[in-house]
């Protein structure tokens, strides 16, 4: 195996350091944590959030017709294929990626020449990011045999696996066509990297590492490839379309990478803390799929019994319940949230290097949204 995870060791918040228990000592009390590890259901928002201006407002004007425009890209003559492809573009998704992309575009444009609008090519990236994300969801759901997502049945559940895989391929090809039309070789190459990362991430998920430290690095690498790469590289793509300065491209990439990893870490936490209604999919889904995510890996420190379960991918009867119990009795959820928080502060550090603008501040705000989201 190529040890690409080494990149993480250069990060000041590297996996190995984070693994050290001393971290849990200085968890700041100013942050609300999602959960204390009990299995309480249906966590509700407190009002303390209200003081934050909604970062989503700034980008929303650019995204009004997002789903209609995506549907135009997905044009084809077969009614059923069309229905399948458009199934998740129903406007009920969070559109987190397109939002982040347009905010980044405006922030970079302002930084470069005080131009606050979004270029049409940059907006295309927002569409493409959502399309690539959706295509990967469709394939992931077939791979995992999932039957519910975003509160409705999955594509494979309704139309069957054969057609679902084709639908995913079709969305991906439409996304590639859209990227090609932008006509920028660097952008094409960056987004093709995303597709490769997504597939490699899925492969990483197939295996697990025996060694504990390696296992955490493996988990973070998988998290980067499966989630953060798309966000990081779409951010980089819009920055390239905004200005020629490689420093800005790096800022955009780093911001995207860090917030992307945080996003997924919280996702993994929510799998333990949120209830099925909120998430739109069953909870403890990861455990049932045999996947050991952040909370379990942290819980492993307190309950070494988990090691054996992780290696057998929670395949014995009672494993899932037992693992859940261990996680709730440990600091796993809290530590994972804390790790996510560290990635978010790194993201804030990066984006703060850009010239101030409302969009830049919205991107800072967005990290908070990532940490406190409940679905």
């Amino acid at each position: 195996m190529v040890k690409r995870w080494l990149i993480w060791c250069n990060n000041p918040h590297s996996a190995v350091r984070v693994m050290r228990p001393f971290f849990s000592a200085f968890i700041s009390s100013s942050y609300r944590f999602l959960h204390t590890g009990t299995r309480a259901c249906c966590y509700s928002k407190t009002h303390s959030e209200a003081k934050y201006k909604d970062p989503f407002k700034l980008g929303s004007s650019d995204l009004k017709t997002l789903y209609d425009d995506i549907k135009k890209e997905l044009f084809n003559t077969t009614k059923e294929l069309k229905d399948m492809c458009e199934y998740y573009f129903d406007g009920k998704g969070k559109a987190f990626r397109p939002m982040l992309v347009v905010l980044m575009a405006r922030a970079c444009n302002t930084h470069y020449n005080n131009f606050r609008e979004v270029h049409p090519a940059q907006r295309s990236i927002a569409l493409v990011a959502e399309m690539i994300h959706t295509a990967s969801l469709v394939h992931d759901d077939v791979i995992d045999g999932a039957n519910a997502r975003r509160g409705k049945q999955t594509v494979n559940q309704i139309w069957g696996e054969r057609k679902a895989v084709l639908a995913g391929d079709f969305i991906l090809s439409a996304a590639s066509v859209a990227v090609a039309r932008i006509g920028n070789a660097a952008v094409i190459s960056i987004l093709s990297q995303v597709i490769e990362d997504l597939v490699r991430g899925e492969f990483l998920q197939l295996g697990s590492k025996e060694n504990e430290n390696e296992r955490f690095a493996h988990y973070l690498e998988k998290t980067f490839k499966k989630t953060a790469s798309l966000i990081a590289n779409s951010c980089k793509a819009v920055s390239i379309l905004a200005c020629p300065d490689p420093k800005v491209h790096e800022i955009a990439y780093q911001y995207g990478k860090n917030i992307g990893i945080a996003f997924q870490l919280i996702d993994d936490v929510l799998d333990f803390t949120s209830c099925a209604d909120q998430l739109g999919k069953p909870t403890a889904a990861d455990l049932r799929l045999g996947l050991a995510t952040g909370p379990v890996l942290f819980a492993c420190q307190k309950f070494p019994e988990l090691n054996a379960m992780i290696l057998r991918r929670f395949s014995l009867p009672g494993d899932v319940e037992q693992a859940w119990q261990y996680v709730s009795e440990s600091d796993g959820v809290r530590q994972t949230t804390f790790l996510a928080q560290r990635y978010c502060s790194e993201a804030i550090k990066e984006i703060s290097k850009l010239q101030p603008s409302p969009e830049r501040d919205a991107l800072i705000q967005l990290t908070e949204t990532v940490l406190t989201r409940d679905k």
Partner: protein, 489 residues
């Protein structure tokens, strides 16, 4: 093996050219060549071993319970493998089998153009043309064509085949041995079924690149990266075309879990097979995407990406005609049929041919001709394949698709009511249909003759497009491919 020596000499040749021109680009290609030559050597030894194990099917093994065909070659080896067959659940022994099937995948995507042909064409039978004198004819056309395009293409496929990801798949797929998942058949078909086996698309892209030659507008510098008259980028494109084609061979074999019957074996196996099929298909597609991006030509990216979309739509139509769907009552009409077939069987090659012209900076006139050649050749090829069960004695009584050209044309000629009547007469108990009876009815009508006419018509259209290229051995090879495809006797 011939393969490594030929690629070595090419590498040396290119290396000399690079030194002369001191172009970093060429140097890079050369190091790639050297590297690949080594890996090729390695692989070819592996595939030779696999070929021994996976030689031509013997009749008795085809009838065995497990869907595994074995070589009648090496006695010991065969015995060993047969033992494994009886105990596919035996992990360690199953590994051998799995490796053999993976080797077959590797062999399939290997640069067999001109390379493996020396060692394999003896064993390789082209079922499309077998049973008639045209089998040897076709082999000759292909091997001649392979020589023209020079050294093998698929270095990129090799890189991706030697990757961690596919070795991972190799480890996993062994669990599928003994199940009925189509992925296993797809892997096996890479060895046996020549219709899938032959890297026809890559070969045509290379030939048309060579036939078109360098464009008048391009400067001398640009022509320096040509080897055997083909740009490196065009060779990469040929591989990408094959990668995409292979990815969809794999994705076509996804099973609908909800429709499984108890005789299909455990659901878990099928789910696992689906997982492997999706992952390996996606992996090939992702490699195609990065390969396309590396060509640094957004028009080519757009063209080839759109052909992926076409392929999906085409397969989608194709699936709606699966036998279990009982859609024989659909009145599709030959015009719609041709449109669907273009999407599923023609678009990828047509657009790849066009893209190859774009890469050499040929004008839109030449690009359009290349597109037309790819399109009409593919259609002619598909019509030929559809006709085989009707004109080839060897296929008698074998099943044919009710969505094949002769059936659709027959339907058009006799009219809907008469066709429905014929279907009714051939209907057996349940929803089963007596295909032999239908076959007789079709042979008595005009469907077969019309399909032959159509096959020749598209062949002629393909030939006429080639007139825009100057006479050359590559052009002759493209013509010979058409002649082989339209020879129907």
């Amino acid at each position: 093996m011939g393969l490594s020596s030929s690629s070595h000499s090419c590498a040396k040749q290119a290396s000399r050219a690079a030194n002369a021109a001191s172009m970093p680009l060429l140097g890079g290609i050369c190091s790639r060549l050297h590297h690949s030559a080594r890996s090729l050597n390695l692989i070819s030894r592996g595939t030779a071993a696999a070929a021994r194990r996976w030689g031509p099917p013997s009749p008795q093994s085809a009838a065995t319970k497990h869907p595994v065909r074995l070589s009648s070659g090496e006695a010991n080896g065969a015995k060993r493998v047969r033992r494994q067959m009886n105990r596919p659940q035996d992990g360690r022994q199953a590994t051998d089998m799995a490796l053999a099937s993976i080797m077959s995948v590797i062999q399939r995507t290997l640069p067999r153009l001109g390379v493996l042909s020396s060692s394999f064409s003896a064993n390789r039978k082209f079922s499309l043309f077998s049973g008639s004198g045209s089998a040897t004819q076709w082999s000759k056309v292909v091997s001649d064509a392979e020589k023209i395009v020079g050294y093998p293409t698929s270095f990129m496929s090799l890189r991706c085949l030697l990757s961690d990801e596919l070795s991972n798949i190799a480890m996993q797929v062994r669990k599928l041995v003994g199940t009925k998942h189509p992925l296993l058949n797809t892997a096996r078909a890479f060895v046996y079924d020549s219709r899938n086996n032959l890297q026809m698309r890559g070969l045509v892209v290379l030939l048309i690149s060579k036939a078109a030659g360098p464009s008048k507008s391009s400067d001398d510098m640009f022509q320096h990266d040509m080897v055997s008259g083909i740009h490196a980028s065009q060779r990469n494109l040929a591989e990408i075309t094959e990668l995409i084609h292979t990815a969809f061979l794999v994705h076509r074999g996804i099973v609908n879990i909800g429709e499984l019957k108890t005789c299909d074996g455990p659901v878990k196996d099928m789910q696992f097979g689906n997982k492997m099929a999706i992952l390996s298909g996606d992996f090939l597609l992702a490699n195609a995407c990065t390969g396309l991006a590396d060509l640094k030509n957004s028009k080519v990216v757009e063209l080839v990406s759109s052909s992926i979309g076409d392929l999906v739509q085409g397969i989608y139509y194709e699936n709606s005609f699966l036998p279990e769907k009982n859609t024989f009552t659909d009145d599709i009409g030959i015009a719609n049929w041709m449109e669907h077939i273009f999407l599923s069987h023609g678009s990828l090659l047509a657009k790849s041919c066009q893209a190859a012209m774009e890469l050499a900076k040929h004008d839109s006139e030449v690009q359009s001709m290349a597109f037309q050649y790819g399109k009409h050749m593919s259609l002619s090829y598909k019509l030929n394949a559809d006709l085989q069960p009707f004109i080839n004695g060897k296929y008698k009584g074998s099943s044919f698709s009710l969505n094949s050209a002769p059936v659709v044309l027959h339907q058009d000629s006799v009219g809907r009511e008469a066709w429905m009547q014929q279907i009714k007469e051939a209907q057996l108990k349940g929803n089963l249909i007596d295909l032999a009876k239908i076959e007789e009815a079709i042979k008595a009508g005009k469907g077969v003759a019309s399909a032959i006419d159509l096959c020749r018509y598209h062949g002629d259209r393909a030939l006429s497009t080639l007139q825009c290229f100057p006479p050359s051995e590559a052009r002759t090879a493209l013509e010979n491919i058409v002649y082989a495809v339209t020879r129907l006797s």
